[in-house]
Subunit: 412 residues, 4 copies
């Protein structure tokens, strides 16, 4: 008798194929689920493989459009960046994938979900918090945290042996000496030889972007149009091409960014579970958008609103990194950030060249930039004399401090 039904997040690779078979061994009915979020994958082959390994049902879901619209776009609005550098390409994909997984689980009457994420990483947290938030009664089977499983499969060799024994096709090409995770937004690389934080990444590691040294030495010049803080159109100014649906826009920016080697970083970051890890990321289109959005936002948003919103963006990034996309606080912050974007509208011109994004100019019907006011040639509605009072009053506190407690300042 079956112990129940499990919806397994299945990648088609060796690990999750072994998990599929192992779950069956444990007495579960297994439904596999593979999300297409833009990674390079033979989905048909994966489907056949899952079926041949005994999956009761196989779901292949194209989530690319909703990934861009519901997950990447809010991150663009937020200028989401973790620890000042990482654009959260993996983090933002996890709730998108897990959301569909629990939808399938609920719809198929499955009490269990399972995944192949390791026990030391962030992804286990991101997957599972999403599952618990959207399907509180769900039970989660995380084999890499179950002693019977992880003590049995101590290394890749053990998995290979298990695969051979159970008729699981074994990969013929040798595995890269690191692990990677790919989606429409980025590819991340970690583990293996990258675990030594001092070692340089091999040149052939990057699969998504060209080496900037090999990139063309003439820029692509783009114009990106924003409305409510998200891109609604991108125009290649030299070629006249344009895109205007979210998925097309993002894919096109990826192409341009990739061609010029944009968005490569090598960082040590802080995982939610408390350890530092080294990660290498390439996020071509996301990097272009991050820069363009920063530009149009500052152009159209009041300074003080921007400060508050910047603080919310830092919090948002941390929540997303830690797996709390579906949490009351993240819903709240997304709402607030979305509100802040009402007037973030206009066009940014930029060039992309050799790993860099250069903002060239911007315009907007909602601009708060007042050329006459700021001009050095025209006075505008501004009396320079007022600045004296402004500075004098701003100095009241400083002068008092000097007078009353300022012995320390007397050294100057």
């Amino acid at each position: 008798m079956s112990k129940g039904t499990v919806v397994l997040a299945y990648s088609g690779g060796l690990d999750t194929s072994c998990i599929l078979v192992w779950l069956k061994e444990q007495g579960y009915d297994v439904i596999t689920y593979l999300a297409n979020i833009g990674q390079d994958e033979d989905f048909d082959a994966a489907k056949k493989k899952a079926e041949s390994l005994g999956a009761k049902k196989v779901f292949i879901e194209d989530l690319r459009a909703e990934f861009v619209e519901e997950f990447i776009w809010p991150s663009v609005q937020a200028n989401a960046i973790y620890e000042d550098r990482y654009l959260l390409g993996t983090s933002v994909a996890r709730p998108c994938i897990a959301r569909r997984q629990v939808q399938i689980a609920k719809q198929q009457g499955a009490q269990y979900v399972s995944h192949g994420a390791t026990g030391k990483g962030n992804d286990q947290v991101r997957f599972e918090l999403t599952c618990y938030a959207l399907y509180p009664e769900v039970k989660i089977i995380a084999p890499w945290r179950i002693p019977e499983f992880y003590n049995r499969f101590l290394g890749r060799k053990d998995l290979m042996e298990y695969a051979e024994k159970h008729g699981i096709p074994v990969p013929v090409t040798p595995k890269a000496p690191w692990s990677m995770d790919a989606n429409l937004m980025h590819i991340s690389y970690e583990s293996g030889i990258l675990e030594n934080p001092k070692s340089h990444a091999p040149a052939d590691l990057y699969l998504m972007t060209k080496n900037p040294q090999d990139a063309p030495n003439s820029p692509d010049v783009l114009e990106i149009h924003f409305k409510k803080g998200v891109p609604v159109k991108v125009i290649h100014l030299q070629e006249g091409k344009s895109k205007d649906t979210p998925l097309d826009i993002f894919s096109f920016l990826n192409d341009i960014g990739a061609r010029h080697g944009v968005g490569r970083i090598d960082i040590v970051e802080n995982r939610f579970i408390g350890m530092k890890s080294r990660g290498i990321y390439e996020t071509p289109g996301g990097t272009i958008l991050y820069n363009a959005h920063l530009d149009i936002e500052t152009f159209t948003m009041d300074r003080e609103v921007r400060k508050i919103k910047q603080g919310l963006g830092v919090k948002f990034s941390e929540m997303v990194y830690n797996g709390f996309w579906y949490s009351p606080e993240c819903e709240f912050v997304r709402h607030c950030i979305d509100k802040s974007q009402e007037n973030v509208e206009g066009k940014v011109q930029l060039s992309v060249l050799k790993g860099q994004v250069y903002i060239l100019g911007r315009e907007s019907p909602k601009s708060l930039y007042d050329q006459e006011l700021v001009s050095m040639d025209v006075q505008g509605d501004y009396d320079p004399y007022d600045a004296s009072g402004f500075i004098k009053i701003s100095a009241v506190r400083l002068r008092e401090h000097h007078r009353l407690q300022g012995e320390a300042l007397s050294k100057y």
Copy 2:
């Protein structure tokens, strides 16, 4: 009879030469003061010019070393960046210049200081807040905010006429159609044709960095050594050269960055006085250091300390931008940030190429990175099983929220 003595921040240019003469006309004795903070200037010529225009004394002060050590280094420790993009090259120079100005004023018994900053900009604030903070009784003469002055000199033509009439040498080369401010850390460009935020910056604007398109297509690879959050050595790995005093280190990084066109940005920013302005900046060495410091800091600093310190850095940047370097809050924040840097020590390897800085690897005796702990191949002192409890407890709140208020979530 003299109205008193004024120490005038004198650049040698047309504006402050006219101010010098005008102040004399108003009945003041004028001492000129010109700070060498690394700008490209003929200091001897400026000295002679000031003397010939009737300055009672002329001070030329080489502040380059203290500028690097006391102003740029704390900014590096802070990862100081204004509105996510501007590295504060002008902002950080102002308190350095004004501090010496009031030192001279006090020492020379001058009750007045004067400067040529405009009435719409940030620099007037930065200069004057420093003066008031360090010399609370000082009186400030800011001609560009005095109606008799600014109504008399409505444009450059008026200054030229005044100059000719008063024997002030008139510049023979035409002025660039924008204004600029240069120091060891950066050059900024604004005003004039740049006031249209849509117009692209002309290619010949940049004086400090090479156009990335014309930069070499092979990287310079550097190793920067940090101690207490500041660079103590830089080694050019291919050429074997190294530098180890603050001024030499910073100048060398400037050379490398300049050669590769590093650190160019074009932004619209929010001035302290409430208007948006467009600025173009090039900060070659500062950009390299910003990236290197971020890397070694995350490598050696606890995650939660980093978060708090990041918040302090945002505040620091705002204070510095707004002119509050010499304020109780900025002294306090500098102290706290300095404390946070005690263990920020180690070596960062990076390459510089075509406008970009790529971090390659890092090592540190004070690292908090634990290769065994994070390794996917070794378990280390870590039990994956614990993560289940961690996630379950982290989800308590999310599940409760869903259960009790989660109608909104039922849509998923």
Copy 3:
């Protein structure tokens, strides 16, 4: 010929009566405007006085209901408190008063507004920022900042003489040796003998609340009902009375609080213009609401949302104190706070006694409190075992820190 029309915020007192006449002397047509925001005032007498002094029109406006609904309620939602103690009773009234003033100015075609606030205080800023924000072209006449005015009227004696000379009725009762500002929310006292921060406030200073020593020694017990973070009903549980309109609710809470001497504070605070001042405040109803709202909010709001909202509340309080009620940032923050209050609903029972508010209990249909989950007697949907993993993982970072940098800790 008239220089134009001024709408003067008129209180009926000596100062603004003199200003009225002085403005006429200067050549302006004067419209007086007196807002009823709950202060104890003879509005009819003030009207007649203004007319007799030559006001072209006299507006007496009852703003009490909108003051409660549009200004006090959002402050309750925000738990607004300045520098941890002051409930902002004056600050929150200023934009309410000034808003109507510019409405009248616009409607009457007046280009000027005027007020009697001093040049050292916060109120001038609060009034004028509101005016500029809502009527950017307005011109403001602030006599206490105009040298010809303030040099002429150096003390109360000068005003008295001027009044006598111009037929302005002179107050017969001697002025209290401090100044005060009263409205529905509070009375504030400052200046005069209170300027010595060491002196105790005289017992007869307080006009709104009873001395706690003289208050009844048996509590009034209330139940306050909240919806969306604002009170919708208050019931006196012992007497069975209830109120359910905003103005009635607030007035009733004021009565109860006043009877028990609730809400008296004596503080030194930091003014926006950079000086410290000493203020004494009594805010009876506001203090009860502050406590009750804190209680129901924590009961119904997620912990992490609360944290973010708490930060927004601190910012809100500062903005309101500084006069930025009508600013893009304050509008934004009010929107966000309002959003956070969607589920802040329920009933709080409390007792009021001798200057104190004691929360007794609370209930809510939107509570996030789960009695079964938290119970020590029942396990609920919670496995204590999970906490071990939670703590172990939370300790990963601490143990690493000790291991790698923890020499300092070895002292323990």
Copy 4:
């Protein structure tokens, strides 16, 4: 053969007595440790009881002085308060107790520590994070999270039976229908009948403070002297008594506060493990100090430093509540807060009456309050005219906003 030695945090009560015996049953040698942090306890009796139950060693440690100096004083400096209301009396005691526990464990060569905290509370976290931080290799036995233990002892009856069977003295007085935790700083009450958040606390619950209704109706008037942000002396002004060591000062303030019923709160709070709980606290001396310190701090600290320090205090409170006293971030924040207190010095006069603390006045040699500057009667070194410029420049941004995006404002 022994499984090893356990240092058990022993209270002398039923629970930890059973744990003592149970640990022996499991094969451990048990050392008991009882900290005197000011609770009302018969320490001799507890010692004898532990010995009679087979403890190999018994440590009774008087930690009261270090509790005040090293834990309460930094909390006073921080104005530490959790979720705007709770003064952290339990939270702050835990690291103090656990620190000595691991000192004993290390010194006695014990590999294990154990405690009787439940699996749903905060205290388990606070104890264990301290243990892991200071003794990373330690192993922790938390019986209430071990299924064999908690499934065996489902209720108090099971413990009683076990006690009888193993010769453990059984308490003769019936247990209060709630649990409590007492120390020098406060008593907390929770669980049992208090789990219903709507139920009022019974009047006889409070053990530390008098019912305000029964308290004297005449105030005690105190003067508290601060240096570097901590009290160094307290004087009873009416009686002339004074105290000047930390423990004496705090105990005296407790006495005064207790006599007047000061510091009672009834709240729902958010536990670190994600659930809401209801707690009732009485913190007499701590409440007086909280108010006095707020007063002297604002009097002597610059406004902007205060803002930053306030933010750090909120973070500190959260860390302490969650158990992270011994963490890199809490060490860092304590350092920063301590730095901010350098000039927090002076005398505060206050009265205590019927549950309330009223600040009466303050003075300080380090005050930043400038009576002349703020005076309405004297101009001081302040030109009111400057305020016009200050306000005009502060309004630049608001007027621009209205002009460019202000359609929404036109409704006013």
